[in-house]
């Protein structure tokens, strides 16, 4: 923490820390843009069908649901919490949809029920974190299992197929190309989320909660109520993603979406959202999602296996946390060396 003198200026802790947080953030997004452009260029260069409608369509398809779930996740991480049960809520919604469909329900009311189930699951998470004050990282690991388990119980070993795919338009024509519908939905959602986060007082209060919860509360921000609502939002969005995912896979079974939660967190972190809370932008998350989409498409096109793609994603994630800290790290090493050499007998 910076010390001060009577003039009111700060003593820099290291001369490497940028003074204004905004500058740091803009640097991050710019970096992401560069990476995105690089990926697109690589893709275009190595694969001549890169800009065809099919490619753009499928690249969005894979990442759409995960990216959607990353939006409420971003809000939650900014307030200093986390929700690791997102993939399980997606699976729960898919299971519910499958179950209802197998029992002859009409698809529209079934979808509404799924959304309600998602809201309830989110509310349970929210209650555990706000009403009972339990640490979100531990408790959502618990609900991760719990919801996955309930999904298993509901659907058993059945696999539901034969959903009326025609009820949902699969793609959105944009000019000559077609963007997968779920990615398009993601873009629309991210605009809404972005506007809320950066332009409204609600968004402002999220940052305050993440940076200094007590002060936020003392300033009249209803911390618990906001967090509770964020968890419900996460539940609803995950349920919605579950519906879309089911449509995409054209089937639902009890292992739908296993393991995706870490992908969701990865997109948020890659997008510059700090795991400590209080920092992050929606633009960053969108850029990160685009990078993931383009990257995985390109790699698949040049016949890189899913496993190797996983390595690359992991590497990207590592870099995304290492690079901002690297400068500090080098500065620290330099400072230690300087001090060591200054101590002369």
């Amino acid at each position: 923490m910076a010390d001060t003198n009577s003039i009111g200026m700060s003593e820099p802790l290291t001369d490497l820390e940028p003074r204004v947080g905004l500058v740091k953030l803009v640097r991050w997004e710019s970096g992401l843009v560069i990476v995105l452009i690089a990926c697109i260029i690589c893709g275009a260069l190595t694969f001549k069908y890169f800009f065809t409608p099919q490619t753009i369509f499928f690249s969005g398809l894979d990442i759409g649901e995960i990216a959607m779930m990353a939006l409420p996740m971003t809000f939650i991480i900014i307030t200093g919490e986390i929700d690791l049960s997102v993939a399980s809520m997606l699976g729960l919604s898919a299971s519910t949809l499958g179950y209802l469909f197998l029992h002859g329900w009409n698809i529209w009311p079934a979808m509404i029920v799924c959304l309600i189930v998602g809201a309830l699951a989110g509310a349970f998470n929210g209650m555990l974190v706000t009403r009972f004050g339990l640490p979100s990282i531990a408790v959502t690991i618990g609900t991760l299992s719990l919801y996955r388990g309930i999904a298993s119980i509901i659907l058993g070993t059945n696999t539901a197929v034969g959903f009326p795919l025609s009820t949902l338009k699969l793609s959105l024509p944009i000019g000559k190309s077609e963007i997968a519908y779920d990615f398009a939905i993601f873009i629309v959602m991210s605009i809404a989320f972005g506007v809320v986060l950066h332009l409204t007082s609600f968004g402002r209060s999220l940052y305050a909660i993440g940076l200094q919860k007590e002060t936020a509360y003392f300033s009249g921000i209803q911390v618990n109520r906001i967090k509770f609502r964020l968890y419900i939002l996460s539940g609803v969005v995950c349920a919605f993603a579950g519906i879309l995912y089911t449509y995409q896979e054209a089937s639902a079974n009890n292992s739908t979406g296993i393991g995706l939660e870490l992908n969701v967190v990865a997109i948020a972190l890659l997008g510059g959202v700090s795991i400590f809370g209080g920092r992050g932008t929606i633009i960053g998350v969108v850029l990160a999602a685009c990078i993931m989409a383009v990257l995985t498409t390109w790699l698949t096109d040049i016949d890189v296996s899913g496993e190797v793609q996983s390595i690359i994603v992991g590497g990207l994630l590592l870099l995304s946390v290492l690079v901002p800290n690297a400068k500090d790290g080098f500065g620290r090493i330099r400072a230690v060396l300087r001090r060591r050499s200054a101590v002369s007998p």
């Binding site: 923490m1 003198n5 200094q212 002060t215 003392f218 200054a342």
Partner: protein
């Protein structure tokens, strides 16, 4: 000079705790210390010396360089120039560990213990006594720890977990830690800020014991009365430079203040507020199980009511109960005649109440947020249209209030970490005043603030009430309470003991009430 001082210390000690004759040769000498941070010179050619067995106060306003000097002695910073001698030998305090090994120990305002570990382990972390095979010898550790406490004359169980210890006890543990390091120079940074009177007395006894064992205690504090009670000498810094060192016996508080500030400080005058205004706050039989009972009082528009009492009397808790931060078990709070229903800050705020909390870093400010955003934090709804924040209005609000409060800052978009303590407090005040409250509750308005800003805050409060605002002030600083309050309510152990008007308030009577004795009303 050294001899006269040591003679003075010996004479003072006579009749008190007996100790070996004070060595006239100084224990710690700092010569021509200089330290700059970028373009800012925090310390400029400062020299100070400490004698064995003395308690030596280091005084100065915020920004005078006290904390920089302390951090240099603690090994946290390295001086750009100058040298440090311990016991005649030159030392390089290159790190906190090196400083500790050299025998210099700092007790910070907020003790940093390990809550999950036992007291004994806290004292010996990293140096636990070992038995065969490099295993920790727990029984020896407990014994040495308990011995240290006995030597200090305190009762703390070494085998208990550190979590739950009062601040005062934590400090004692820190002091025990210093002793276990054979510290010869013990620096205490604002040690009594959160202590009850009983605990302050205990601390003073501990200081005397330390002195009698030949250690030198450097006492950094804003509480001048305490300084004069416990210290033999004072050194005053101003704007990073050394002003003077005097024997406390040879000077007085006013002189010291003048040296610290470089000018005569004008104290706030009487409130001049219209204290016959209507009741803004009516508290009736407010009770919180085990914390405070049956608290009833009013605050009228235009008056400053102080809640006085010892630390632990429940004053902050009452304020938190009024503002809705904590639930109360019984009683009611009315603001402007209307009862406050749901216990939450927002309903109090909607009724026109503002709350400047005790802990500005954790409760009053979002340290890593910009100044203007902090000022706007409680006014977001008013600054938004359809939920969207109007950034221009936000800026203007921050700018207006910063100017009105004479805030010293670089840019409004800088984070509040760039401000001094006094200026940080102004930001918190700005945040609440921006809402134009009709009742301002303010808890320890000038804690940890330099004299100049202190006076500004007092002036501000008196200005407020002259405009018809009601102020409920919690303060542990008697001069402040006596200077600006219209009425003084005294709490003791959760009960309202007595009430004083401006005319019949005096320090003794208040102190008696604070320890539980109301005035006997003449029959």
């Amino acid at each position: 000079m050294g001899e006269a001082v040591s003679q003075g210390i010996n004479e003072e000690a006579a009749g008190a705790v007996p100790h070996p004759p004070v060595d006239p040769k100084p224990l710690l000498v700092v010569e021509h210390a200089t330290k700059s941070f970028g373009a800012v010179r925090a310390l400029n050619d400062v020299s100070i010396e400490l004698l064995r067995g003395e308690a030596h106060a280091l005084l100065g306003e915020n920004g005078a360089g006290k904390s920089t000097l302390v951090k240099i002695l603690a090994g946290v910073y390295q001086p750009d120039g100058g040298s440090i001698y311990l016991d005649g030998a030159r030392v390089q305090l290159t790190s906190p560990a090196a400083a500790r090994d050299a025998g210099v120990s700092v007790i910070y305002q907020e003790p940093t213990l390990f809550p999950d570990l036992t007291v004994a382990e806290n004292i010996f972390m990293g140096r636990q006594p070992l038995k065969s095979g490099r295993r920790i010898d727990r029984s020896k550790m407990m014994k040495v720890a308990n011995d240290a406490f006995t030597r200090l004359g305190v009762h703390i169980e070494a085998s208990r977990v550190a979590r739950g210890l009062s601040v005062a006890d934590q400090q004692i543990v820190e002091i025990a830690k210093s002793i276990s390091f054979n510290a010869q120079v013990i620096i205490m940074d604002e040690p009594t800020a959160a202590l009850t009177e009983v605990e302050v007395e205990r601390l003073f006894d501990v200081v005397k014991t330390l002195r009698s064992q030949g250690a030198a205690v450097m006492y950094v504090s804003h509480r001048l009365q305490e300084v004069f009670d416990i210290c033999q000498r004072v050194t005053i810094l101003r704007d990073g430079a050394f002003v003077k060192t005097s024997l406390t016996a040879d000077t007085n508080i006013d002189e010291v203040i003048r040296s610290m500030v470089g000018r005569d400080v004008v104290a706030a005058t009487s409130t001049g507020g219209d204290a016959t205004g209507e009741n803004v706050l009516e508290v009736e039989r407010l009770t919180r199980e085990g914390i405070f009972t049956d608290i009833s009082f009013n605050v009228r528009a235009g008056e400053i009511v102080a809640l006085a009492g010892l630390v632990g009397a429940g004053r902050t808790e009452v304020a938190r109960g009024i503002f809705g931060i904590d639930r109360v078990d019984a009683g009611s709070v009315k603001v402007g005649g209307k009862k406050l229903k749901n216990a939450s800050p927002i309903s109090a705020m909607n009724a026109g109440v503002g709350f400047v909390p005790e802990d500005r870093r954790q409760q009053g400010l979002v340290m890593e947020m910009a100044i203007d955003r902090n000022v706007a934090l409680a006014s977001l709804r008013g600054l938004s249209r359809f939920g969207f924040v109007r950034k221009a209005s936000e800026r203007k609000l921050a700018y207006d209030w910063s100017t009105r409060l004479s805030l010293k800052y670089g840019r409004l978009s800088n984070t509040v970490t760039t401000l001094s303590g006094g200026n940080q407090q102004k930001v918190v005040l700005a945040k609440w005043l921006a809402r134009r409250p009709r009742l301002l509750i303010i808890d320890e308005p000038t804690r940890g603030i330099d004299i100049g800003t202190k006076a500004e805050v007092h002036r501000l409060l008196t200005e407020l009430v002259s405009q018809g605002v009601a102020v409920l002030m919690i303060s542990s600083e008697m001069p402040e309470v006596l200077q600006i309050s219209d009425r003084i309510l005294v709490l003791c152990e959760g009960r309202l003991i007595d009430e004083f008007s401006r005319e019949d308030a005096n320090e003794n009577a208040i102190m008696r009430a604070a320890t539980g004795f109301a005035r006997v009303t003449a029959s």
